[in-house]
Point group: C2
Chain length 323, copies 2
């Protein structure tokens, strides 16, 4: 399996610079948030989103270095992503993420709301100062989609009637929108054709969906130590993802357990066992693969380059996590 370091080789030094910049941007002003930022930007993130922005930048710039605006876009992408994680953890009352305590558990809800607001606010400000109205629109769409995704997830908690379509919408809002729109924004900053920009949006969209489905599978199949949070926590919190959706078709007995919100002793263990026994994980894998494959097709718009090769490898890497 590829490690994310060798995977991102063409942008490795770019990503080091990005991490330093992000910590500096946040910590400089506020020690109180500095601690949270240090924690957030150090916490073993894979930097998948800024890596894609930087790879698309390099792949569309024909061998030139990313401009300061491309780099800033990558930073904005990671800031928006991090802000959404911090608020998600408040909303979900999560205590652990990537094996590290969440901001709300390490500090408190007050600091977590502030830190998320601060990151969103900084990202809007840096975004406006990219001086490109089209890029502002693409990324403000992402911020709107995040809120939409969180709300959809909130509304549909423990709803066994939720459709695969709503699940995919939610996955788009929560994950794919940021990857798709920021890939397109990087292309826009490189002044590519409308068609190429649109194809890179599609690449990000399908890659993002594959990524979210894989994440949802891992919540059922990975041990807690690897996940960095308790296994099965999606289902426990009422978030019914692809494997559970498919399992519901196979084992109608799962409905009752979910509908009573795992109120009785042993309910959650039984539900997790049913999903794992079912064909749900396998079917979810196929779904992720079909999106991963589709993502690759859109890369035909790019000239050959090391960055393009990495973008291909990223899709393979995302899928390799479930094997």
């Amino acid at each position: 399996m590829l490690s994310s370091t060798s995977l991102f080789a063409p942008v490795e030094s770019d990503l080091r610079l990005l991490t330093e910049n992000l910590k500096r941007l946040i910590s400089a002003r506020h020690p109180i948030l500095g601690a949270a930022a240090e924690h957030l930007f150090e916490a073993g993130g894979k930097r998948l989103r800024p890596a894609i922005v930087l790879l698309v930048s390099r792949a569309t710039l024909g061998g030139e270095e990313p401009t300061p605006r491309h780099r800033r876009l990558a930073e904005i992408t990671e800031m928006i992503h991090t802000a959404s994680l911090v608020h998600d953890d408040v909303v979900d009352e999560a205590a652990l993420r990537r094996n590290a305590p969440t901001v709300n558990s390490l500090f408190d809800n007050r600091i977590a709301v502030l830190a998320g607001d601060f990151l969103f606010a900084q990202s809007s400000w840096y975004l406006a100062n990219l001086d490109n109205l089209q890029v502002v629109k693409l990324l403000s769409e992402v911020i709107r989609d995040f809120a939409e995704g969180e709300i959809l997830q909130s509304i549909n908690r423990f709803d066994v009637e939720v459709s695969l379509e709503v699940y995919l919408d939610k996955s788009y809002y929560k994950t794919a929108s940021l990857i798709a729109n920021s890939a397109k924004a990087a292309a826009v900053l490189s002044d590519v054709s409308l068609e190429t920009a649109e194809k890179l949006y599609r690449y990000g969209r399908d890659l993002g969906l594959a990524f979210q489905i894989v994440d949802d599978i891992l919540d059922f199949t990975s041990p807690t130590e690897v996940l960095g949070k308790p296994a099965g926590s999606d289902l426990l919190s009422g978030n019914i993802t692809a494997p559970a959706l498919f399992a519901l078709e196979e084992f109608p007995g799962l409905r009752g357990l979910i509908e009573r919100e795992f109120a009785e002793n042993g309910d959650i263990e039984q539900a997790l066992a049913l999903v794992r026994q079912s064909d749900g994980v396998h079917r979810a894998r196929e779904l992720a693969q079909s999106h991963g494959k589709r993502a690759l097709q859109y890369l035909d718009c790019l000239q050959p380059s090391a960055a393009k090769d990495s973008l291909i490898d990223v899709a393979d890497y995302v899928l390799s996590r479930i094997y």
Copy 2:
């Protein structure tokens, strides 16, 4: 004393339209937030911020009706303001605002964080779609200032060494920035000269500072029923505002009470009594008045109109609240 209805006469019908639009924009998509929105936009707000945007619009358009973009800007202003209130109440664990339960107390923190994020996200999106990069920058500055203000307030809780300068910075970030930048943005949408736009920014800045100082005075001088939240709650939560800052110079005994965070029985009552006995309220009034007067000077850039007269009256109205 002028009521806020007659005060805003030139934009009365504009404000009715705005309230309807805001409820529609939010409720249409999400019943779960619809309830919160209904509650938020009905809760007896004075609509001071959108009223100023609409008055500046009319005053700079030479008798023309505000354009759809001016109206949208007024809506965005109220959305940003409301989003910040919702998150402030989570951060401050407030239970009441304007005599109505807060979103976090009526629903819970989860819904309050979501509702605030949703409003911020909607406002960024509508903002980007105004298609004016300068306006995007002005308002993204406001969002950044809000986060800054909340953090400054958080850092300086119970800090008796806080200076008048930091207090005024905080008041600018929390209150004056939105009024100043949105007044300027309305002027920018009307294509006025740079000088006029800058004067309207200054008007909003000084008016906003006067408004915040008056609000801080009322927290000491008004009964709970009128305030719509417990009197003295700023001081109790460690937010040291102008009257308390001045009182600290006069009665050094106040320091100890604040520094021990009113831990002993009767501490807060004693502290409130000291502030009320002191010259602090009087000195804070003078400070508010000096900002109110300065605000008026900047209106010399406007041609005579009913809207201009209202902008003058707004400054008088803000100050009249403390007499």
